[in-house]
């Protein structure tokens, strides 16, 4: 009886054998096995299949493994990997408790997505951070934590893999993936409020008011204006920091820069305060 069963099983196994390209396994081994979905595929296995089956690696990129992993994959498959700069997530909102007064109190379900669908939030800013941890919960790499003093999330640059999970989770589209610079330095406009300057400033003292001062001072054409907002293109920016000093509302943040020696009057500005806080927080985390 056992022998008969084993023969049947053997025959069935032979009949329904799935032939797979063994190189898929090799590619999968080279991938980080995070299964984060940052590449756009459900898991690393699917991404490996896509790499093997497609003609070129142009639209395929593993944000977690980065360029190194993609080079290994390209070698295995004999294809060419395009050069992509590593990216990192930044939070484009500086509406801390200090900068953005709370006008009401929310006691509903603790989720940004739900709160955002319900109403404008506990401040009057309709686009600002709600601070209810949706991005923190969704991050598989523990690269975001919530700073309870400011009520804003903080990205730990060393851990961030730019998988984009937080970008998708944020109901207000505050999180942006930007080019990773040397020593994790960033300069970006930390506000996405498209309303006119006066109104935006009423909600939040560090809102971008669209005054175009940074746009005028930038020598590298990295800054574009639109929707009452300035936007700094991370590919064009040379990190000269001239826009930071020019900004009247301190909406442009500089992160991970050494403190300036001159201009003591700027020490009290909100941007410096926040960037310092971020720096100290990162040190504490480490």
């Amino acid at each position: 009886m056992g022998i008969v069963a084993s023969i049947i099983l053997y025959l069935v196994a032979q009949k329904f054998k799935v032939l797979e390209n063994p190189i898929i396994y090799d590619v999968e081994d080279a991938l980080p096995a995070a299964n984060c979905g940052g590449c756009g595929y459900p898991g690393c296995r699917n991404f490996a299949e896509a790499c093997v089956n497609s003609d070129s690696l142009d639209n395929l990129y593993c944000p977690v493994g980065g360029q190194e992993t993609m080079n290994i994959v390209a070698n295995l498959l004999g294809k060419e990997a395009i050069q992509t700069d590593p990216r990192v997530a930044v939070i484009r909102c500086s509406g801390s408790f200090e900068n953005r007064p709370r006008t009401n109190h929310y006691d509903g379900a603790l989720s940004c997505a739900i709160a955002s669908a319900l109403y404008v939030g506990d401040t009057d800013c309709p686009v600002g951070c709600l601070g209810m941890d949706d991005c923190v919960v969704v991050c598989e790499f523990e690269a975001i934590y919530m700073n309870r003093k400011t009520g804003l999330p903080v990205v730990i640059d060393e851990k961030c893999t730019a998988c984009g999970a937080c970008v998708a989770a944020c109901p207000r589209d505050i999180i942006e993936l930007r080019k990773q610079n040397k020593k994790d330095r960033h300069i970006f406009v930390s506000c996405i409020n498209p309303e006119k300057g006066g109104i935006a400033k009423k909600y939040c003292s560090v809102a971008c008011i669209g005054c175009t001062k940074c746009f005028k001072v930038c020598e590298f054409e990295a800054i574009t204006m639109g929707n009452n907002l300035a936007f700094i293109d991370s590919d064009m920016c040379t990190l000269c920091r001239r826009c930071v000093t020019e900004c009247p509302t301190d909406a442009i943040l500089e992160i991970n820069f050494p403190p300036r020696r001159t201009k003591t009057d700027k020490e009290n500005t909100a941007s410096n305060k926040i960037s310092e806080k971020v720096n100290t927080n990162i040190k504490e985390q480490d």
Binding site: T103, N104, A117, L118
Partner: protein, 449 residues
């Protein structure tokens, strides 16, 4: 004979929250005009209306200021006379900015063709099509809360016939008494409104459903119903959420509206009692929907009342008329206690679908801490739609929207019975509502593909 009759109600689920009908004896007061009104252009379900006036124009009471666009939409009329000072985005009930027209009040000059006398006009002279056109022009929407354009409900889909009209006078929400007072004080007008609806729908029978905590309204309407053939008044057992369309149909006719279907699929059309009154005014008095009855209530309020309010009046103005905002106020809610929405500002205006303003103290609104689900299945037993709220919440948390759709989350009518009964204080409805929006997105995406 009627006293011995078993009171009708629906079968599945339901709860019995405390009623707190503080204002059921207070007469409807006409509120004085505010200095400025803000009329939102999207007060109804469907496409927002397009403004037809511009800044600086002088308008009269009842003048069309925004035209409904498309089939499911409603026109909007000026509720005051004065000058248009602003057409801009103004924070609505959610705090997000929506287009609105701001009018500064000057005097009280009405459009000439509106009949302002309060005499009852019983004869219905207009034809069916003329009535429909009148209702559409007057911007009438469902005044029970959902604000669905009324003319859409009255144009029956091809091949479908209405057998009966149901008038919803249930008002099962705690605190609210606006429909109750309307039925008592404007009962005859409402009856004529019902006759107009019957004429449009071509039905012989109309049923008014009223919960038996409003016995005076039931008696009064039964008395006058002899003058209006075909209209019957039914007293219903008190049970929340009986004012929901599907539950009311089940209670009165014992017919069940299938999932994702409309009442007309079982041969009935449901309209709210206030809507019937608004239709009377529109058809017989030529008056568009410019005011409504709003209950302003709360245990801490000095003078809780029912007010006739012009659309667009700031809520602050209503609360001041009711004795001002008490110091220990925790929340101000627009709508009913169970389904209403907490406001984040008192500057928001009254809209067509707003039936009440509730002022609650800090103690009343305090939320207890959320505990893990103990699988007591109370939420299951109270859900009037037979859903499983305890399951729907974790499915939303997991983002399992395909499964959520299969669990019929879209049948949820957001009555809040599950959150009310939960001994672990779980915010079930908050999550289910979010799940509903995500599932709707999913279905819309599927349609596009």
């Amino acid at each position: 004979m009627r006293n011995n009759q078993v009171l009708k109600t629906y079968k599945i689920g339901g709860i019995h929250p405390s009623e707190y009908k503080l204002t059921d004896k207070s007469l409807v007061n006409i509120l004085p005009l505010p200095e400025k009104v803000t009329i939102l252009l999207s007060q109804h379900i469907g496409v927002p209306a397009i403004p037809v006036v511009s800044k600086g124009d002088t308008v009269k009471v009842g003048q069309l200021i925004a035209q409904g666009r498309g089939f499911v939409s409603a026109s909007i009329h000026s509720s005051v006379s004065g000058k248009v000072v602003k057409i801009d985005s103004i924070p609505d009930l959610t705090g997000y900015k929506k287009p609105a027209i701001v009018i500064e009040v000057e005097g009280d000059e009405w459009e000439e063709d509106i009949i302002q006398s309060t005499d009852l006009k019983k004869d219905i002279s207009l034809s069916k099509d003329e009535i429909l056109e009148k209702i559409r022009e007057s911007g009438i929407v469902g005044l029970g809360g959902a604000a669905f354009p009324s003319h859409v409900k009255l144009i029956l889909p091809h091949g479908k016939n209405a057998e009966a009209l149901i008038i919803n006078g249930v008002e099962c929400e705690p605190y609210l008494t606006s429909d109750h007072r309307l039925m008592l004080e404007y009962g005859e007008e409402m009856m004529v409104g019902i006759q107009i609806l019957m004429k449009v729908l071509n039905v012989r029978k109309a049923m008014i459903g009223i919960e038996n905590n409003k016995a005076d309204a039931v008696h009064y309407l039964r008395d006058i119903s002899s003058k209006f053939p075909g209209i019957e008044v039914y007293s219903l057992k008190v049970k929340y959420p009986q004012g929901s369309e599907k539950q009311l149909i089940k209670a009165l006719t014992d017919r069940e509206v299938p999932s994702r279907k409309l009442p007309i699929d079982v041969g009935v059309v449901v309209h709210n009692a206030s809507t019937a009154y608004a239709i009377y005014e529109a058809v017989q008095k030529n008056k568009p929907l410019i005011n409504r009855i709003v209950t302003v209530s709360g245990k801490s309020l000095k003078n809780p009342s029912n007010f006739v309010v012009r659309i667009g009046t700031p809520i602050q103005f209503l609360i001041e008329a009711a004795g001002g905002l008490p110091e220990n106020t925790g929340k101000v809610i627009s709508g009913g206690l169970m389904m209403g929405k907490a406001l984040n500002s008192l500057d928001v205006p009254v809209i067509k679908g707003m039936s009440g303003i509730l002022v609650l103290t800090e103690d009343e609104t305090k939320r207890e801490s959320i505990e893990p689900c103990i699988r007591c299945s109370k939420c299951l037993s109270v859900c009037p739609m037979g859903l499983e709220p305890y399951l729907l919440m974790p499915l939303t948390l997991d983002g399992n929207f395909y499964r959520l759709e299969k669990e019929m989350v879209l049948d949820c009518l957001e009555c809040g019975s599950c959150s009310y009964i939960c001994p672990a204080n779980r915010p079930l409805l908050d999550y289910i509502k979010f799940g509903k929006t995500e599932v709707t997105k999913l279905i819309n995406e599927r349609k596009l593909v």
